[in-house]
Amino acid sequence: MNIDDTLRIVIVGHVDHGKSTLIGRLFHDTSSLPEERYREIEATCRAQGRAFEFAYLMDALEEEREHNITIDTAQTFFKTSLRPYIIIDAPGHKEFLKNMITGAAAADAAILLVDGAEGVREQTRRHAYMLSLLGLRQVVVAVNKLDLVGFRRDRFEEVEEEIRGFLLSVGLVPAHVVPISAREGDNIATPSERTAWYSGPTLLGALDSFFPARDISGLPLRFPVQDIYVGDGKRVYAGRVESGCLRAGGRAVFSPSGKKAVVRSVEKWKQPALPEAHAGECVGVTFTEELFVERGEVLSEAGEASPSAREISASLFWLGNEPLRLSARYVLKLATAEVEAVLSAITERIDSSTLEVVERHANRVGNLEVANVTFTLQHPIAADTFKENPRLGRFVVVVGEFVAGGGIVREVRSDRLGGGTRVVRLHARMMTEPDGNFIDLSREAGPVEFEISPGFVARLGGGEKVAIRLCTADQLEKIARLAFGYGLGMTFRRGPEGNRVVLSREGPVSQAPAEEGFPVI
């Protein structure tokens, strides 16, 4: 994507802080408003005995005109001298958060509007938090309605400080904080004389500094299989390159099955032999050998495949009317994969407006709340963390027929039964020797996952100890996590026999793990 390609922006903020008015103003100041539309709005306003309202342009639906609120996400278009813009208006009412999320999920950048008189409010904070959860990083803050406070610098700086502080707490740094009046046109397209104390860009200038963010370059190849078309004696695997570059002749591996393949051809209609396809391109792929993989598998280059996830920890926003419940079954959709999953832990339940942790180890997540959760998947799927690859690190939760929530993957735990990972049952490997219990892992050089039984925990609770000889530092970390989860003591020693840890337990035995995610066999 080039800088002059269309940029999709979403405008968010608290209800009545002036979103629709700002959009009307952007249209007017960029001469993007068809004259007939202008006259239509004028006529409607006159008929209702009101002053001219820019907001009517976006609020085209009848109910919205009557109640003066934006119900759904609407998209429309304007242009600066740099490039065209698609503008997504997102509703500010709390009930319409799912529409705001629909809008913001499709955007490259966001304008967060704050009323200069009212300051930061509930939906200002909630929307900012959602932007951060959706992975949007290009944000400009517009402090609006400064005409109502006489364009006072001290008031602007008060609001600026407040919003910068909140954004920082959700991991966002705004590109600019611009003092504006949408109704009167200050600092939208041209610098305002009434804010002579402000030296930053106008709002349009700030927008022009953003990049179309849909292009993912520099990341490893991810090509989720979308469908398989059989015909003309061949199987064509259709899909979109989500990141990286797919090359004809390349060696590739599928996750989670681990099947290997060589790409024979990369095809489009009337282009049966493309040398390669890049992120964002929908293509068909054939392989040199007969191969049977299904929708949902993800093609990567050998050596940098997506992990095969059996368990996913995520930050999740919940939009369902019914609460999300611990131990209930849901369907997750991640890229083209679809999997049934059990909600195995709700580590923290968070108020999406105040960011307060409402509860730890909760049983349910309510409408409009955010939570840190863990899903245990019924079968493995390919998944990355959002940090490593946003395209394969986000998913939605489906309840019944509809999407009821979404999340970004914080941590992926591998399939315990595949992907070359060995499962080691510590209780089964324990030997009782004259000088105590002993487990030898010194030959387990490959990736391992550990399991322990309740009986094993009980024996340690009874005063026994176990020494474990380690092979890798990874094992040390995993055992430390296990010890932490079950409330065991652990000491690490480096001696003539190599690296060892000793696990022990003092005090009453806890049968249930203190932390989620540790299997008990």
Binding site: M1, N2, D5, T6, L33, P34, E35, E36, R37, T44, M58, A60, L61, E62, E63, I71, D72, T73, A74, Q75, T76, F77, P84, I86, K98, N99, I101, T102, A105, A106, L134, R214, D215, Q226, D227, Y229, G231, V236, A238, R240, E267, K268, W269, K270, H278, G280, E281, C282, G284, R295, L319, K333, R394, F395, V396, V398, E401, F402, V403, G406
Partner: protein, 266 residues
């Protein structure tokens, strides 16, 4: 990848997703530039073979040039074309003189409903765009209609990260909108780039051309000298007249389009 490539890929992804998820699909082909672009994209998505029928809701008031063009393109591209009319309403004398709202609702909306019922189509591709008019701007890409054909625009499910709502109750059909993000100018830019044939009514003759195609009694040409696709693109870059200015049903009364669409109009 430029802007048109990005739009093309987005549309192809939507086509393939719908084809994977729904068995009984059809595509509405109004003969206009948008749905013809849609047809072109369907051919791209499925490597030249469109795996579902095309439906033309013929109100009987269409311009003969449109019908001629329709039959020519359908033959050339070997598509499975279903032409359907609300014969009952036509026999009863339905025409725009009875009122434009009534006529559009009977011949188009009910005409569509009949053909969906008759063929059991569960999903229909439509070439609507968000920049056309206000109520279309609020659409989702996968947009359900209930058994009474109604659109509950006040409570639409969220749609994010290309995860579409693709499972619906037995009495629901879904409208699928692969062109929602395109603008009128994008469509013409793509038509030029790809060399897609368009209905000759779009090109200026004697100082007039149609900017949007509809029924003869309710659709009026605009004054224009743009007689080639290049000239249309130049004209659109500077025009301040909305696209559907010549479509009478949009201007009959406030909110008419919204009411028509909530009852199932395209």
């Amino acid at each position: 990848m430029d802007h048109l490539d990005a739009l093309e890929n987005e549309s192809i992804y939507i086509f393939r997703e719908a084809h994977r998820k729904f068995k009984d699909l059809a595509m509405l082909w109004s003969i206009g530039k948008d749905s013809t672009t849609l047809l072109w994209l369907a051919r791209k998505a499925f490597f030249g073979k469109v795996p579902f029928p095309l439906v033309h809701i013929d109100t009987s008031f269409k311009h003969p040039t449109m019908i001629e063009y329709r039959d020519r393109v359908a033959k050339e591209w070997a598509v499975d074309l279903v032409v359907s009319r609300n014969e009952e309403a036509l026999r009863a004398g339905m025409e725009p003189g009875k009122g434009r709202f009534v006529c559009c609702n009977a011949l188009k909306t009910q005409g569509l409903q009949q053909v969906l019922d008759r063929h059991g189509f569960k999903g229909v591709f439509l070439g609507i765009r968000r920049d056309e008019e206000g109520s279309r701007a609020k659409e989702r890409i996968f947009s359900p209609r209930d058994k009474n054909f109604e659109w509950n625009y006040k409570d639409q499910p969220p749609e994010l990260w290309d995860q579409f709502n693709t499972s619906f109750g037995p009495d629901t059909h879904v409208r699928i909108h692969p062109l929602l993000s395109w603008t009128e100018l994008d469509i013409w830019g793509y038509i030029r780039r790809e060399g897609i044939p368009v209905c000759p009514l779009y090109l200026s003759r004697d100082g007039k051309r149609f900017r949007s195609l509809g029924c003869v009694p309710c659709n009026f040409p605009i004054a224009s000298d743009a007689s080639t696709v290049d000239e249309i693109i130049e004209e659109l870059k500077v025009t301040k007249t909305p696209e559907r200015a010549g479509r009478a049903q949009d201007h009959e009364a406030a909110y008419m389009m919204q009411k028509l669409r909530s009852l199932g109009y395209m």
